[in-house]
Amino acid sequence: MKNENHIITGIKSGDSEVLKSVYSDYFGMVRNLVIKNSGSELDAEDVFQDALVILFKKFNHSEFRLTVKFKTFLYSVCRNIWLTELKVRSGKSIKLKDYEKHIDIGHELALNWKKTQEETIQRMENAMKYLGDKCQQILLMFYYQKHSMQQIATALDYADADSVKTQKYKCIRQLKRSLNP
């Protein structure tokens, strides 16, 4: 369980070493699931990538508590992603061949979030380009990676947390204007 907590913390903070070890340990499982259910190597990589992003979002949600093994949760997320993709491709309900225990993780994780929000993503990408690199980094580190002002100051070579706070205020105001003209 200690190891599982280490994985969760690593994914939450986007620790590349942890993400690498998760890939090394579990990509084989995801690949097997996808390939044994009418998918390809590339499909498996897409599913694994999306699953890690979903895990990142889920783990950063303050109300989330992992009640099963990490492996089971990851398999369940990947299973839902691939099941949804197969339904979209074939236009009908599919029964998957399973190789691991899985749980019902809810409808929102079954959605292919990238495809359903393509327009929003496109608009956001344009807005972020307009902000510039420094603002992008501050906003993503604060709102997405949930880093503190002090952590951001250290990482981006600001004098102190207040300097970051002022800079962040300017960046978010600009973003809001871009998104809500």
Binding site: G28, L52, S62, M124, L140, I172, K176
Partner: protein
């Protein structure tokens, strides 16, 4: 909108406001339309930032995965599949064992009637043969002794038998019957009768040899006092006697020069071969 308001909205979105602070915030959203609009826009911006962050992270992950793939990943072994395979193997072994056991049991049961049951060695009197001589000599039947030997190996049986033959002319061996490979022999000498059952079809030869040795010993011990004791006996009767009490008439027996007269009350039964060397 001031910097502090942005920080207040961030705290509300992060769920950090509690109690009175949260109540004050909610009251301000209701009363201040400009503030409410700013809150809505900031929530929207944060949601979009999270979405963008996820896309960014996914893109970065995909780039990293190319490098990770070069280093390889652990081969996958399905625990569920392994367990179900193990269960299948154990079930197959169990079923095969039961089938093998059943086959063995029925095969054994079918074979069992063919197997020879060990003979029960209940005392069995040799069928007496009614002849005029036997009737006359009924008085002497008290000297008859009967011994029954368990079905041992031929060597064990021969070792168990003690032949103390005083008069070689009274010695005879008769093969009474053969049932399921078990031979019944009757040994007579000096008015004594022994019944021997053996699976050895050559037991009569062994006994004949043994009788000769016994006679020689007697002769040596008595320094050849009796001429008739020096006579070597040979196998007298090697014939299968039917179980029935068919008996040759005593007159025929007497006519047969090969037939050795038996001691009182011990008479040959049934067909007696005519080739007695005696």
């Amino acid at each position: 909108m001031y910097e502090n308001d942005i920080a207040l909205i961030d705290a509300f979105i992060a769920g950090e406001l509690t109690g009175l602070d949260k109540h004050k915030f909610e009251m301000r959203v209701k009363e201040d339309l400009e503030f409410a609009k700013a809150v809505r826009h900031q929530i929207h911006a944060v949601e979009n930032l999270e979405l963008f962050g996820a896309v960014q992270m996914g893109t970065a992950l995909r780039a990293d995965m190319v490098d990770w793939k070069k280093e390889g990943f652990k081969p996958y072994k399905s625990e569920m599949l392994a367990k179900s395979t193990l269960v299948k193997i154990i079930s197959t072994i169990a079923v095969l064992s039961v089938i093998a056991g059943a086959v063995w049991y029925y095969t054994k049961r079918e074979e069992s009637p063919k197997e020879q049951k060990p003979l029960e060695l209940s005392p069995q009197k040799p069928a007496s043969i009614e002849t005029p001589e036997s009737r006359q000599n009924q008085v002497d039947s008290s000297i008859e002794t009967e011994s029954y030997t368990e079905l041992k190996t031929s060597e064990e049986q021969v070792a168990d038998i003690q032949l103390d033959i005083q008069d070689p002319t009274t010695f005879s061996i008769i093969e009474l019957s053969e049932v399921n490979g078990v031979y019944t022999y009757q040994i007579s000498h000096d008015g004594q009768v022994q019944i021997i059952k053996s699976q050895d079809p050559n037991m009569d030869d062994r006994l004949t040899k043994m009788a000769n040795e016994a006679i020689e010993e007697n002769v040596q011990s008595s320094n050849g006092s009796s001429a008739k004791n020096t006579k070597t006996i040979t196998k007298k009767v090697i014939s299968k006697q039917p179980q029935s009490n068919q008996t040759k008439p005593s007159s025929e027996l007497k006519k047969d020069p090969e037939i050795q007269p038996l001691p009182p009350a011990i008479k040959p039964r049934g067909d007696v071969e005519d080739d007695f060397p005696y």
